[in-house]
Subunit: 312 residues, 5 copies
């Protein structure tokens, strides 16, 4: 199982001396001491409204937002990413979770055909620091950039300032980088995704979440991910989980992203919370077995099936 | 009759320790110690200009804005919601009312066919706190978001910051969540309304006001409201009253919204102020009998007819 | 002649305790101790450029901007309303005038057919307070909102904040409320004007200036003004004077606006400054005889004709 | 030769008591003790890019930006107007020049047919005050408003605040007022220019620079300038010099602008810097002979021809 | 070899007295004591995404962003220009490099045919000063202006303020000046480039980076560069390197830009980092031999070929 010491955390130089220990604390918490990131994405209640939480094929457990906190608490995750208000309403009852405050969000109502996407910063960083001061275990911040949107400039500027401010206070930052807009012909192009990953690096992010590139005859998705993993340099690359698929497929993809593609973790939402609590908890452990424990796909599947247990 | 103790108020964790008692005070006042919300909506003089206050079928009492304060004072309400300036001009004479300062408003002159709706923040939160410092009984703030508007991002950002700032000073927040704009095909869709309610939760609101969903053969409006009541999680859901209907229908709908749909209150405007003072006062009591007292529809109708009395 | 005592001034509750006396001072000055407002509108040099000041039918006196200050000084007015810079250039020589600083202005060059109207805030409120600190007799502020414009939101927000800030420092506020824009079919509709007046109340204005509604077979302009006078509640309603007409007509309209329509004053510009100094001075007295002195039309005409004198 | 005493400087009342002497210092410097303004316009390197500085009919001296400072230093001017950065790069070597910091500028690349003009504020006023603190002889600020542009509101707001801030620190302000945009049919209309001049007064400018109106059978350009000179009231009116013409014509026009049209000075750019250093220096003296010395056209031409000398 | 003393550094007068030594330190570092600038442009990972770093004809070394820092460390450069976040992630391991923080950036996804270019400021200047406070060797800032874009005003305003703020803290500023947008017919016009260079001067930049103009029968590119070198006055002109060409051609062009065109340096990106580390290091030395050492083309080629060595 991968493991890093506090000395091995590479602290960006925009973290001031008096915040180095705080940054290392947060980095170690977020990566559970492994340098790998298992991110539980709980920001879709704005991003996708209720589409991901209610309906055919979705566990009835998911209709209640507290479901996500139960999974986060009983399962094994690195961080639970959600909007500030969502965290504020539940965190007092789930103090053990590592929270990543998602700073911007938009709904999916206005489609790209009507207008290019812009996801606004919903509150200033101080409000996230205030949560921390009130005792919430906030380890980092998240922000989505739709690269290639006509509003790219606004998101780039908000993210650029946010990372500087976050590092100045010892917080870790994850950027969601999604090429999208009328100017973007192919959102899943490996080369474009690599460009997005490099942009996250230039903005100073600690981790970048991208969609896995589209595989084709010239290489699998994981093969093609290598370009992005290189381009992101010292910014750790993780892949979004996407829509719900069967667990074996899901875990195999994740394994390949890490061991072939060079990813250092994963960011999973629907695949977790759309399941019943028990199943979702087991899946967090299976994912973490691969991401944090370097286990094989078979062993992880066994964890998911309740045949093995994974703990840190 | 439902009743909660101060210990039962679930204080969001973005309320700092030194403001917990203030928040609990405000929450107890707004809900009259019941955890339920009876909101008297008095923000339509901007939203609908004089259309709701003067004309056929509207009591002549309603032409004078003070009518609303008289109802608020003589009737039984949780909060009276109005713009800052309106409150500033009358509150000195009606100190006993619990005020909710509506922070944004727009007129209905520009239709959605001309431009998507944006309702601007009209003053900063400090101006509401100043009212409180001047002795006005301000217990909370209100803000409207038109979800799906091309200006959604501006309203989401204003509301997101507002809630953080309000909680930081111990104020309760109600969000008016209305899907509206060229991208919104069906404003009354239960699924969409549930998404709007979930969005309010993610922003951290204490209560969310939605329009009741449209019922159809698959279920009544109240049945369909359940999805939204679940999606809003710890954010209490209340339904808007809509245009004036006969009192029995109105009270029955309200009863079902609470006892079938999972609402924790109501938000009523026109149904109250368009009536004469005496009738309006009796209707506040009938509404509160259901909302705050868990009375039956029949008993509430008797209150409205002056055959019974409801008091706290 | 109407007269109010300092105790009778209804101070809005957003005026803090330590500014109550200042507000009462300003209110008494602006209304000359009567509770009525005679406003001399001197903001047209931006609004109408030189069209109102030079040309056929306009006294040559009006070509020199100082003409307005001479009228304000020698005549009887409540306040002289003008932009900050105009006041700054002349007020040292006319210290006895009560000034109302007009905070926003636009030219009429871009027509509504090209773009909806937006009148920008030209300077922050501190600059008006600085004038006061420098010894200028500033009693209040003015702001124009074009209701129904696509830029309504910007003006509403600027005005909403302005009123809060003005009251916080003891200044009186007058809103110019003009429905205008592609969405506005009939700017002179009595019902729409009433909506505009109600909006001014909700923003917390002390006085609202509206155009007189269009009369028709169902009622005179003054009759139809009643709806707006009711809708404006505790915000005093005054009518704009409009383009220059003969003095008898003008004074009769004014009388009816007050005694039939419920107005509490007037706001007159062109009808005054387009006349020679002597004639303009007499007209201020005739207007004030009606507005501030409750004199009859006949007596006011006699004042205008120099047959009687009106003084406070 | 006109001359004013310090007591004769009419200080606007927005200049605070503690800054009166500073304002008078700056006013006396800018007008060289005459109350008249000779402004050397050196802001065209942005406004017209290199078109005015290099090419046929332009002295080779003009290719080097330092040429303007040499003229300003060896000639006789009231103020040299240029952007902050230009002044910052040369002023240490030319400390004797009175500088007017041009606060906004745009290039001419985007034509009005593509978009209406907006000239942005390039730096805050503090940066100009910092130059003064660093020992640069900054006496005032300049700002251009394109009246009638769809961006009029932004420029009006920037200028309105700028003048208040400048006066608060004792600086003199010159507004460049140019009607321009799709809404402006005739930029050279005398009536429109008068409106622009009146607008500058209402914003509180000390001087306003306008283009000379177009003359026709009803009157010469200078005749028609009278309306603007009246409309600008206590704001001194000066005319832009325009493109390079022969010196006799140029000086005659200037003489008439002052002695017929009521201007109190001139603002000249290309007519100066497009000439060789020697010729340009002589032309500054010829212009100043008329503007500051009230000399005749013939005597001024003699100065330009080197037959007479003008000094202060 | 050109060499300047600290006394010969011409410090702009917007650098305050207490920051003069810091500015001179930075200027001497950036120009390696020569007054000439060799800028290694490492901002393309945002500007061109991964196009410049991965693919046919590009060394595999370039896929890893650290490649640029290795070149900067082992080669001879004046400054390495990159975004704040990129520097923050690597500078701790490369403390000897002189860093220029590129303040704005955009991707190339939205083409000019879709929308005119705007490159947003990504973080405030304080974040760059914080890097310096944390021990990073930050000597200056960079900013790109697309002159003639419909967003020119935003970039001009950001750059105008930035330069003032940078000089106030002793930092050197380089402006990238690129005419681009629907209004720009010929980006490579010598006359237009000269206008852009003059604009950089007026904003107060220390150096301006332009594209070399297009040569034609009337003169070579270097000949035509003279106009810009004159127009930029005291702002040093450097040319962008453009896409990768063979080294002899590249070095000849550079030599001519300096010795014919009047440039004082170069700004090179792709020509360096697209080569293998060894080759790139040798090319930095060859470039510096010309730029900083005034060597001949032949000698510089020998350096590139490893036949001679160049050191400072």
């Amino acid at each position: 199982m991968p493991s890093i010491t506090r000395d091995q955390v590479r602290v960006p130089v925009d973290v001031p001396a008096e915040m180095r220990e705080t940054y290392i604390d947060n980095y170690m918490k977020a990566t559970r001491g492994t340098g790998r990131l298992m991110l539980f994405a709980c920001d879709q209640k704005i991003e996708h409204l209720n589409d991901d939480f209610f309906g055919e094929g979705i566990s009835a457990d998911d209709a209640d937002p507290e479901h996500m906190f139960r999974i986060g608490s009983q399962g094994i995750c690195g961080v639970l990413a959600g909007q500030r208000g969502l965290i504020a309403q539940y965190a007092a009852d789930y103090p053990e979770i590592n929270y990543l405050v998602k700073i911007n969000s938009k709904t999916h109502l206005v489609k790209t055909s009507q207008d290019d996407p812009y996801s606004p910063q919903l509150y200033d960083i101080q409000t996230a620091l205030d949560l921390r001061d009130n005792g919430v275990n906030v380890v980092g911040l998240g922000y989505t950039i739709y690269l290639g949107s006509e509003y790219e400039s606004q998101m780039m500027a908000e993210a650029g300032q946010l990372i500087a401010d976050a590092h100045a206070t010892g917080l870790v930052v994850v950027l969601w980088m999604y090429p999208r807009g009328k100017a973007v012909a192919d959102e899943k192009s490996a080369h474009l995704i690599a460009g997005a990953a490099g942009t996250a690096l230039c903005l100073g992010a600690d981790f970048v979440k991208v969609n896995p590139p589209k595989g084709d005859e010239s290489g699998s998705s994981a093969d093609k991910l290598k370009e992005a993993a290189l381009a992101s340099g010292r910014t750790g690359l993780v892949c979004a989980g996407g829509s719900t698929v069967d667990s074996h497929t899901f875990l195999s993809q994740l394994y390949d992203q890490i061991h072939v593609g060079g990813a250092v973790g994963n960011a999973t939402g629907r695949n977790l919370h759309q399941r019943s609590l028990d199943e979702a908890v087991r899946l967090t452990k299976a994912i973490s077995a691969i991401t944090l424990g370097d286990w094989s796909v078979e062993d992880a599947v066994a964890v998911f099936n309740g045949e093995k247990d994974f703990s840190l």
